[in-house]
Every structure is written in structure tokens, then in C-alpha cells.
């Protein structure tokens, strides 16, 4: 019986050293010298398998991500135009040109302004919706589904619906505002209203995303905390939200803030479909500038310089998340 068990284990051991490298490295020292050679061989075999399994992914990463990224930085230092025969190194001339280009500053400003409207708007509305949904039990999944619908609907198609709703003469928006005595307005052709209207569409599209993340965050707050707070005399409502819910939503909120900002910086579809950056550049945004420079005028070098600014903008937000997350938020 015991003999049997021992032989069984010996066989298993041999099989392990043959087929896996994991125990080989871990138990290498304890093993007699003879066993090490096959173990090392198995480890080599496993490494070879790993490289083979990784090869397609690494190849595509190199060709489709790393190389193009490097190319942007290289192209930004040239005067390259797609189709042109000559290409010259011009140092940071593209960036100098950017610095004095009013359209660039307009695009950067509009992008930030758009984000400054959409981020608080969608986070605020998403939080209110999540709190309202959590505060009761009836119709939860209906509300959640309804509010999430804009997040996943094809934005460009819905942008065209919005355009129709905003039509100055027979659009739904003007008709509904008319009920309240507000005069019809050509929202997308007015310099003062075009960007705010696009921001409303942005909020409409994004707030459901913030809502589901807040819902997830709310669910993870332990019930006992509220009970304990009630015993300590914290009333319901605002005090409870201020003292417990909001601080505990800290990590989630920061997370949502970063995602919302990143998405807002990437606004393109609605601009392309509804305003083309107009009227008089009032809705010109970063991605739209990159698109027109790179793919309409084929000024590749200049578009690359713009792209680098765009990358910096996005990475800055991501890095803020990283540093703040590591420093501050350790509740959940």
C-alpha cells in the first residue's frame, strides 16, 4: 500500500518535471543533481512555447502600435505631406507654427470648454440618477436600461436624429420650447449656442455610463455603515450623503472623472456630422483639427504635431488618476 503510494508519487514527480517548468524552478535546489538537467530542459521548452504563443501579438503590437506611435513623433518633426516626393526635417517648426495658429488655440480651448461642460454634467446627472435608482426598489432595471441606452446606441446615427430634433423650423426642440414661450432658434448655426448644444448631446450620451459605475460603487458600500451612522445620530438625506456615501464613492468618482474627461477630449462624431467645426470655428475641437489637417489637407507633419498635443492631453488626465489614486483614495 505504502509502496504503491510512493511509486505513484514518483511517477507523478517525473511527469511534472517533464511537462512543467513551474515546479522545476521552485524546487530546483532541493532536487538531486540528476533531476536538474531535464527540469532545465523543460523550462527551456516552456519558454519556447511562451514566445511562440506571444509572437503574433508582439508582432502586431510592434507593427500597429509601437511603430506608428514612434512614427508620429518622427513625422511631427518633418514637413511631410502625403503623396509629396520630398520630405525634410524641420525640427520643431510644426510646433512653432501651432503656437501661433489661432485655429489650434481655438480647437484646444473648445475641447477643454466642451469637457468642462460635459464632465460635470454627465457625472452630476449620473450620480443623481444612481442615487435615485438606489433609493427605492421598484422599476430599478427599467430605469437603468433606459438611462444606459444612449451609451451604446450608434452615436453618429443619434447625432443625425439630434440634428433633426434641433431643426430650426420643424424640429422637436423648438416646438417643445415654444410651449414655454421660448422663441425658435437656430441652435447649431449660432456661435454662442453651437458648442453648448453639442455638450448637451455629449451629456445625454455619457451620463448613463457614469450612472452604472456609480451604481456599482453604491452597492459596495456596507449597509452597516449607514446603520451605525443612524445610531450615532446622523440623520438621513443630505448629511448621510455628505458624511458616508460621497467619501466612500471617492475612488469610483475619480475613476469616472478620468474616463469622462478622456471621452470628452475625444469628441468628434457630433462635430463632424452636425457643425464641421463651425459656425466660425466655434465648435472646432482637437480631433476635428487632426482630421482636417491629416485627411483633408494631407498635411501629415502638421497633423502629427497636433496629435502629440492630443496625446499629452489624454495622458495628463490618466497620470492624474494614477498619482491621486496612489496617494489618496484607500477606502474601498
Amino acid at each position: 500500500m505504502t509502496d504503491h503510494a510512493i511509486t505513484d508519487r514518483a511517477i507523478t514527480n517525473r511527469a511534472m518535471t517533464d511537462r512543467t517548468a513551474l515546479p522545476a524552478a521552485a524546487a530546483g535546489n532541493a532536487r538531486p543533481a540528476k533531476a536538474r538537467a531535464p527540469a532545465r530542459k523543460a523550462a527551456r521548452r516552456q519558454a519556447r512555447t511562451a514566445y511562440a504563443l506571444l509572437a503574433p501579438a508582439l508582432l502586431l503590437m510592434a507593427g500597429l502600435l509601437i511603430l506608428p506611435l514612434a512614427a508620429i513623433f518622427a513625422l511631427a518633426l518633418t514637413d511631410y505631406q502625403l503623396g509629396a516626393q520630398a520630405i525634410a526635417f524641420i525640427g520643431i517648426d510644426n510646433f512653432k507654427a501651432l503656437a501661433v495658429d489661432p485655429v489650434f488655440w481655438q480647437a484646444l480651448g473648445n475641447t477643454l470648454l466642451y469637457a468642462a461642460m460635459v464632465v460635470p454634467g454627465s457625472i452630476g446627472l449620473g450620480l443623481v440618477a444612481a442615487l435615485l435608482i438606489e433609493s427605492g426598489t421598484s422599476l430599478r432595471s427599467f430605469y437603468r436600461a433606459a438611462l444606459f441606452l444612449p451609451v451604446m446606441a450608434t452615436l453618429i446615427a443619434m447625432a443625425i436624429v439630434w440634428e433633426f430634433m434641433l431643426h430650426p423650423t420643424f424640429g422637436l426642440v423648438n416646438a417643445m420650447l415654444g410651449v414655454f414661450g421660448i422663441a425658435p432658434h437656430n441652435w447649431l448655426l449660432d456661435k454662442a449656442t453651437a458648442l453648448p448644444v453639442l455638450a448637451v448631446i455629449g451629456i445625454w450620451q455619457q451620463f448613463g455610463f457614469a450612472m452604472v459605475l456609480f451604481l456599482a460603487g453604491l452597492v459596495s458600500i456596507p449597509r452597516q455603515l449607514y446603520e451605525a451612522a443612524a445610531l450615532d445620530g446622523v440623520p438621513g438625506g443630505w448629511e448621510r450623503f455628505r458624511l458616508i456615501t460621497w467619501p466612500l464613492l471617492g475612488p469610483v468618482s475619480l475613476f469616472i472623472l478620468v474616463i469622462s474627461a478622456t471621452r470628452a477630449f475625444q469628441v468628434f462624431d457630433v462635430v463632424y456630422a452636425l457643425t464641421k467645426g463651425g459656425p466660425s470655428k466655434s465648435t472646432e475641437v482637437m480631433l476635428y483639427s487632426i482630421y482636417t489637417e491629416g485627411f483633408e489637407f494631407f498635411r501629415t507633419g502638421y497633423a502629427s504635431a497636433l496629435t502629440i498635443v492630443f496625446i499629452v492631453l489624454i495622458l495628463a488626465v490618466t497620470l492624474i488618476k494614477k498619482t491621486v489614486l496612489e496617494k489618496r483614495v484607500h477606502y474601498a
Binding site: A15, T20, L54, L132, F148, T154, M176, L315
Partner: protein
């Protein structure tokens, strides 16, 4: 006694207020969808009226939807959308899963380095690569083709990351047992790991399909020929053709393009929300 009645009344009032507020927010979220569908059912006369009507007096759905499908090759665009999103997801899984398995379960020199590289690549915003990819595809001569639409997304670094995290939770015993049964490492990826990872793969699939069905930026850059148009390009082309006057068919076209994902979403809400919020992890 009277206190409990007062309390109950307060609870009832609170619940009513909750529904009023949520219905208002829901109205804001759903208004464009409702208006799109209602308009797609109306004859031109009712659409171009300044009086709001929430239901067509004369039902014009057949005419609008036939016009939508016959004016532009809308069916073709929808088919293109299916081909492109399916191919992208299939290739993403085919390439990401073996890589994720190697990173999670195999020991080799440079594993940390590769993982760091994956992490770094996740940070690259996808719009940022459009310029160099366009130049590259131009010289490869593959612009304006299915390949141009599919190739940039075959590598999903986020997918590798996600699947690697999932594979880390699969017990090593399962892998060892498979090895002892004589299954090759390649076989383990597909016959052992994939079946355990179905929930994660589903989430990744929803995330991927929604993102690429809805994508407008890259197809707009990569295509000129409407033979390869995806639904998102199709609906804009349709609007431009109709010069914005024929709203019934246009709204019908928009409905047809939005419909597949929304139907799928309503059928599997939880999975969809899970899949789409994945993008937040980036």
C-alpha cells in the same frame, strides 16, 4: 399610530418623487429614440408640420423603410458592419488568448517586460494612431478595403490584459492536469482555458462589437468607396444624399442601424453593461 401613518405617507411621497425625477431623466435619455422611431412611421406632411404629434395619423412605415433600404444600399452597409465587427472580434480572441495564457501561466525570460509593454500600449489613445496608420496603409495599398477596417484592431492589448487577469485566477492544477493528459500548450489555450473564460470573453466581445459597430472616426478615414461602408458611414452618406429633406426614410435608416445593438442590449442587459463598462478599466 398616527405617527406610523405619517411615516408611511412620507415614504409614499418619497417614492412618488423618486419616480417623477427618474421619469424626467428617462424622458431626456429616451426622447431621441422615441422621436426617431415615431418619425420613421410618419408621412412627409406630418413630419414637416410644426405641431408635435407623438403618433402618426397616417401610418407610413412601409414606405419609409422601403425607401431607406432601396435609396442607399443600407442592407449592404449592415452586412459590412457584421463582417467587420465579427472579423475583428474573432482575430482579437485568436491573437490575445494565447498571449494572455503565456503571460499568466508560463515562465520565461522577459515576461515582466512584455507585460509592461502591454500596459504601456493600453495607454495609447486609438485616435492618435490614425495619421501614421493611414500613411502606412496608403503605401501598403490596402486603404479602402475590409483589411483597412479590420487590421488596426486585430491586436487588442486591452484584451490581452483582461484575459491575463482572468487566467491568473484559473488554478494551476487545472493546467497541470491537462499537461499530464498530454494536451499541448496550444491545446490548453483553446480546450482548457477558453471554456473557463467564457464570461470574460463574452464581456470582451460585447465591448469590442459595440465599439466597432459604432466607430465612425477610423472608417471615415480608411474608406472612400461605399462598397465597404459600415453602418455609421452609411447613415451619414444617406443623409448627405437626401440633402436632409427626406426625414422619414432617414429616421428609418437610423432606426435600422441602431436597432441590432439595442435589441441585443435589451435581451442581455447585465452582460452588456458589464462589457461596456470594461472600457473604464483602460
Amino acid at each position: 399610530m398616527s405617527r406610523s401613518i405619517a411615516l408611511r405617507r412620507r415614504a409614499l411621497l418619497g417614492s412618488a418623487l423618486r419616480h417623477v425625477a427618474l421619469l424626467l431623466i428617462a424622458a431626456f435619455a429616451l426622447l431621441p429614440f422615441v422621436w426617431m422611431v415615431v418619425t420613421s412611421l410618419k408621412p412627409p406632411g406630418e413630419i414637416l408640420s410644426s405641431v408635435i404629434t407623438w403618433w402618426p395619423k397616417r401610418f407610413y412605415a412601409v414606405e419609409n423603410y422601403t425607401a431607406a433600404l432601396s435609396t442607399a444600399p443600407l442592407a449592404r452597409y449592415l452586412l459590412n458592419g457584421v463582417i467587420v465587427t465579427a472579423a475583428i472580434f474573432f482575430l482579437q480572441v485568436l491573437i490575445a488568448l494565447p498571449a494572455a495564457y503565456a503571460l499568466a501561466k508560463l515562465r520565461f525570460k522577459g515576461r515582466e517586460a512584455v507585460f509592461t509593454l502591454v500596459f504601456f500600449c493600453i495607454l495609447i489613445p486609438y485616435h492618435a494612431l490614425a495619421v501614421p496608420l493611414f500613411v502606412m496603409f496608403h503605401y501598403m495599398g490596402i486603404l479602402n478595403s475590409y483589411a483597412a477596417l479590420i487590421l488596426p484592431f486585430t491586436i487588442s492589448v486591452f484584451g490581452i490584459f483582461l484575459m491575463r487577469q482572468f487566467f491568473m485566477t484559473v488554478p494551476d492544477d487545472l493546467v497541470d492536469a491537462a499537461r499530464m493528459d498530454g494536451i499541448s500548450e496550444f491545446g490548453i489555450v483553446w480546450r482548457v482555458m477558453l471554456p473557463t473564460a467564457i464570461p470574460a470573453v463574452t464581456a470582451l466581445g460585447i465591448f469590442s462589437v459595440v465599439a466597432h459597430w459604432n466607430d465612425y472616426f477610423w472608417p471615415l478615414i480608411a474608406l472612400v468607396d461605399d462598397a465597404y461602408f459600415t453602418p455609421s458611414l452609411g447613415v451619414v452618406a444617406f443623409r448627405n444624399q437626401e440633402a436632409g429633406s427626406n426625414y422619414g426614410p432617414l429616421m428609418a435608416a437610423a432606426t435600422l442601424i441602431v436597432l441590432p445593438l439595442i435589441t441585443a442590449f435589451l435581451l442581455a442587459q447585465r452582460r452588456f453593461i458589464e462589457g461596456i463598462t470594461l472600457s473604464g478599466m483602460k
